[in-house]
């Protein structure tokens, strides 16, 4: 498990409350309701606030530990790293910082494993690396894990979290949307199963490409999911948007999701869904 469990800022304003002394590492404050809880308790509770049910953000390895059967995960493409093709001011330095902060080489971990005993290909994005922004590395790793799922006839599960495209790679980052979607097109066209799980937040170029293309689109409660950011929209329509705008629940209501799944139920729900696909075609000879 990683150590970067710091609750991230939300727009709820909870951060503005007067700070009580919190012993470093021992306790955690919920960014939504302000409740302070023992880190150990929080972790036992899968990083869901015991008071308000707020789902804290997870990094890729925490998510994998919670989702994939113990000992079954095998990482692929662990050595892909970003370059600086545009020689964008400050990009290289920022990449180094992100690796230092998160312990990751880029914003996604991909591989194979088992969920509830069902073999899967899986990719898990991590917001703590460059806000999960998609550049060439994420695009390539996703395309490869999709192709692997196709070759090995495995169901594909992608957990998304991203601020959007990685501006520092400009057009190359935009094209990762087309690349990942094209890879999915091939995979799904050949009958491949893709379960997409939106986690907080999934915005912009990730939301508007592979993440929205699941045969089943799921989300964690309260996850922010959308294309354009709230501020940009408020400036455009000159109106204040409601608090629940672009939440998983908002998207469920608007027909964009199949189901909002609580973190404690995620693994069992995925298992159930995988079980539904374990038998292909019309068959009555299996039980």
């Amino acid at each position: 498990m990683g150590t970067n469990a710091a609750p991230n800022k939300t727009e709820s304003g909870a951060e503005e409350r007067p700070k009580r002394e919190i012993p470093e590492g021992l306790m955690n404050r919920c960014s939504k309701c302000g409740n302070i809880q023992f880190t150990k308790e929080l972790e036992k509770n899968l990083k869901v606030c015991s008071t308000c049910g707020h789902h804290f953000r997870l990094n890729a390895w925490e998510r994998i530990a919670m989702t994939v059967d113990e000992g079954s995960f095998a990482e692929i493409d662990a050595n892909l790293v970003s370059e600086d093709p545009l020689e964008f001011p400050g990009y290289k330095k920022k990449l180094a910082q992100q690796t230092e902060n998160s312990g990751l080489k880029d914003g996604i971990v991909t591989g194979t494993g088992e969920i509830g005993g069902f073999p899967v290909a899986i990719g898990v994005m991590s917001f703590d690396f460059f806000s999960g922004s998609m550049g060439s590395v994420i695009g390539e790793k996703i395309a490869r894990v999709i192709e692997l799922a196709g070759e090995k006839d495995l169901p594909l599960i992608l957990f998304s979290t991203s601020g959007g495209a990685r501006m520092q790679e400009s057009i190359l980052s935009l094209m990762q949307m087309a690349k990942t979607s094209a890879a999915l097109a091939k995979f799904q066209d050949h009958g491949g199963l893709f379960i997409s799980v939106f986690t907080d937040p999934t915005m912009g170029g990730v939301s508007a490409s592979f993440a929205s293309l699941g045969d089943y689109n799921l989300a964690e409660p309260g996850a922010l999911v959308g294309f354009a950011g709230r501020i940009v929209i408020e400036q455009t329509i000159r109106q204040k948007l409601p608090d629940n705008f672009q939440t998983a629940e908002f998207n469920l209501k608007n027909g964009q999701l199949d189901k909002v799944v609580h973190r404690k139920d995620m693994k069992s729900f995925l298992t159930k869904l995988l079980d539904m696909h374990a038998v292909k075609g019309v068959r009555t000879d299996v039980r």
Binding site: L80, M175, F227
Partner: protein, 326 residues
């Protein structure tokens, strides 16, 4: 010629000088033939100097010029027999997207593109060329129809991006764009895309998954508008010019990155100076690429498109590399 583009100011000044001298010559019956010829010569030099050295920021301004020809300006010049179609059959007819059937050198094609407005009223109707989900779904419907009937697909890209609105989000802006990206990958007909003005973000790419992607010389294509990038990176939208340089958004840059196949030259000063000539070079380029692609079977066209986009991206693979580079 009013100067909307500051870099054209020296040209305008010189033109005024020439006009003035002409007038003086006429009024006072003085022969300035030699001086005028010299000044015209200087004007041509200055033009070459300015237009052959446009900065990314100046190209961005040119790409956004409101006199720049739009999709509906080009369609009657590039094609014949245009039949405009409407609606996504689900919700509405988004006027930020236009399209229909037309003939390219006698061959039936489907053409679809973003449509900016010509004036304020038109712009409001067309959401400044920024589609809602129904716009992307309208485009998809046209393209699926083309695929069904074996017609090549030509798209014109010209948008600041998908419309950032609350209703757009509620109706699935992300899903609409994503679906286009996926479905365009599977069309068994030639798809040729031309960026004619501004190619802004996912809203542009949603019409951009082509076997060939071409750009007009003074068009731009980027992941986020330079204004947006500036406000995110430097908390200052007015640094858009700076961001334009950093983000490598010009046709030349994209050709180097292997994202586009061809740059279509523009008349001196930009496409708006001579839309008819511009349309002709667009038609020639489309025809050339269409002839090449027509030799491919549907499966080959799909594979060709897949390979193109699959190869885009720049990364390093550190040792020990367990898997092979594509």
């Amino acid at each position: 010629m009013s100067v909307e583009l500051p870099f054209e100011k020296p040209l305008e000044d010189l033109r005024k000088k020439i006009d003035h001298l002409k007038k003086v010559g006429q009024d006072q019956q003085i022969d300035f033939t030699e001086e005028l010829a010299r000044l015209e010569e200087r004007y041509k030099e200055l033009e070459d100097e300015i237009y052959s050295n446009l900065s990314a920021a100046n190209i961005m301004h040119l790409a956004r010029l409101h006199q720049r020809p739009t999709t509906l300006d080009y369609i009657p010049l590039v094609f014949t027999d245009f039949i405009e179609l409407h609606g996504d059959r689900l919700f509405a007819d988004d006027l930020a997207i236009v399209g229909g059937l037309a003939k390219l050198n006698g061959v039936p094609v489907t053409v679809v593109g973003h449509q900016r407005g010509k004036d304020t009223k038109d712009n409001i109707q067309r959401f400044f060329g920024s589609p809602h989900p129904e716009g992307f779904r309208k485009a998809l419907r046209f393209m699926q129809q083309a695929n069904k009937f074996g017609r090549p697909i030509i798209t014109f890209i010209d948008t600041k991006g998908a419309y950032p609105g609350d209703t757009a989000e509620a109706r699935g802006q992300s899903e609409a764009i994503a679906r286009n990206l996926r479905e365009m990958a599977l069309f068994g007909v030639p798809v040729i895309c031309v960026v004619i003005g501004e190619g802004g973000s996912g809203g542009a790419l949603a019409l951009g998954v082509g076997n060939r992607v071409l750009m007009l010389e003074n068009s731009i294509y980027s992941v986020i508008s330079p204004n947006g990038a500036a406000s995110i990176l430097w908390k200052d939208a007015s640094k858009a010019d700076q961001a334009a340089e950093a983000m490598k958004i010009t046709a030349k840059d994209l050709k180097e990155f292997g994202v586009i196949e061809e740059i279509i030259p523009e008349p001196k000063g930009g496409a708006h100076r001579d839309p008819a000539v511009q349309a002709e070079s667009i038609r020639d380029a489309l025809w050339r690429h269409l002839q090449e692609l027509s030799a491919l079977e549907p499966e080959q066209l799909i594979e060709d498109r897949y390979r193109k986009f699959r190869a885009i991206g720049k990364f390093a693979e550190l040792a020990p590399a367990m898997s092979e580079t594509p």
